[in-house]
C-alpha cells in the first residue's frame, strides 16, 4: 500500500480510507499478505457501473428526442390557435 501513496500528494491514512471505500463498493479487491495488502482493480463491477450510467443517460436522451417532437407539435397548435 505504501507504493500506492508515492505518486500522490496525499497522506497514507487518506489513501487507506479511499481504498476502503473502493473495496466496499466492490471496485477493488485486496488480499491480506502479512505486512503487504496486494490490491487489484475489479474491472467487471467498474464496467457494470459505467454501463448502467450509459443506460440511464440513454433513457433521458431518448425521452428528449420525443420531447423535441412534442414541443414542435405544441408550437404548431399554438400558432394555429392564435390565427383563429
Amino acid at each position: 500500500m505504501n507504493e500506492i501513496g508515492v505518486p500522490f500528494e496525499i497522506s497514507q491514512p487518506a489513501i487507506s480510507r479511499h481504498l476502503k471505500v473502493l473495496e466496499q463498493a466492490g471496485l477493488i479487491e485486496r488480499d491480506v499478505d502479512k505486512q503487504r495488502r496486494p490490491t487489484r482493480l475489479k474491472a467487471e463491477p467498474m464496467a457494470a457501473a459505467v454501463n448502467w450510467l450509459e443506460t440511464f443517460k440513454q433513457f433521458w436522451s431518448s425521452s428528449f428526442d420525443r420531447l423535441d417532437g412534442l414541443l414542435e407539435e405544441l408550437k404548431n397548435s399554438e400558432t394555429k390557435g392564435r390565427r383563429k
Binding site: 507504493e3 500506492i4 505518486p7 500522490f8 479511499h18 471505500v21 473502493l22 466496499q24 463498493a25 466492490g26 471496485l27 477493488i28 490490491t39 487489484r40 482493480l41 463491477p45 467498474m46 457494470a48 457501473a49 459505467v50 448502467w52 450510467l53 443506460t55 443517460k57 433513457f59 433521458w60 436522451s61 431518448s62 425521452s63 428528449f64 428526442d65 420525443r66 420531447l67 423535441d68 417532437g69 412534442l70 414541443l71 414542435e72 405544441l74 408550437k75 399554438e78
Partner: protein, 164 residues
C-alpha cells in the same frame, strides 16, 4: 457545490421556456415524452416542495416504478427533486440493475431562455448516499467529473500499473 461526484447533461430545446416548463410539469403531457419505448403512467403529480411524482413504466407485463419527491419548484426556471427507484407501493428500493447505484439522486433541472430556445441543464448528485454508493457513481461518471472522478481515474491507472 460540495465535493460529491456530479453528472451534468445539457440539451437545447427549440421552444420557448414556458412551453418547455409545461411539458415537464403537466401530467397530461409528461407521459407523451418521458420514458421511451414504454407505456408511462403518471399515478400522482403534486408540483410543490414535498410533493410526489409517481411514475409507472410498463413494458409488456412488467413494470418499473419511479418515485420522485420535489424539493424546489420555481416556474419556469428550476425544478429540483429526489429521484429513486421504487416498488409498486412506492417505497424506495435500490436500483434493480445496480446494487450500489445511489438509491436517491438529487436531480436539478434548470431552464434558461435563449433567443426563443431553451437551454436545459440536468444534474445528478448522490443524496445522503453511502460511501460505496458515491464510489459507484463516481466510477460510473468517470471522466465526466473533474474533481472526484479524476482522482479515481488516477488511482485506477496507478493500480493497473502496479499489477503490470
Amino acid at each position: 457545490m460540495s465535493d460529491l461526484p456530479t453528472y451534468v447533461l445539457d440539451r437545447v430545446f427549440d421552444a420557448p421556456r414556458e412551453l418547455v416548463w409545461k411539458t415537464w410539469t403537466d401530467p397530461a403531457l409528461l407521459p407523451r415524452w418521458y420514458g421511451p419505448k414504454v407505456e408511462t403512467i403518471v399515478h400522482r403529480l403534486e408540483l410543490k416542495p414535498g410533493g410526489l411524482w409517481l411514475v409507472e413504466m410498463r413494458m409488456g407485463d412488467r413494470s418499473m416504478y419511479q418515485r420522485v419527491e420535489y424539493t424546489d419548484v420555481a416556474p419556469p426556471e428550476r425544478l429540483v427533486w429526489l429521484h429513486s427507484s421504487s416498488d409498486a407501493a412506492w417505497n424506495i428500493i435500490p436500483s434493480p440493475m445496480m446494487a450500489n447505484w445511489p438509491r436517491v439522486l438529487l436531480t436539478t433541472v434548470t431552464f434558461k431562455e435563449d433567443n426563443g430556445q431553451t437551454r436545459m441543464r440536468l444534474t445528478w448528485v448522490p443524496h445522503e448516499a453511502s460511501e460505496a454508493e458515491i464510489a459507484c457513481f463516481a466510477a460510473a461518471i468517470g471522466g465526466a467529473d473533474k474533481g472526484w472522478a479524476a482522482g479515481m481515474e488516477l488511482l485506477a491507472k496507478l493500480l493497473a500499473e502496479l499489477q503490470a
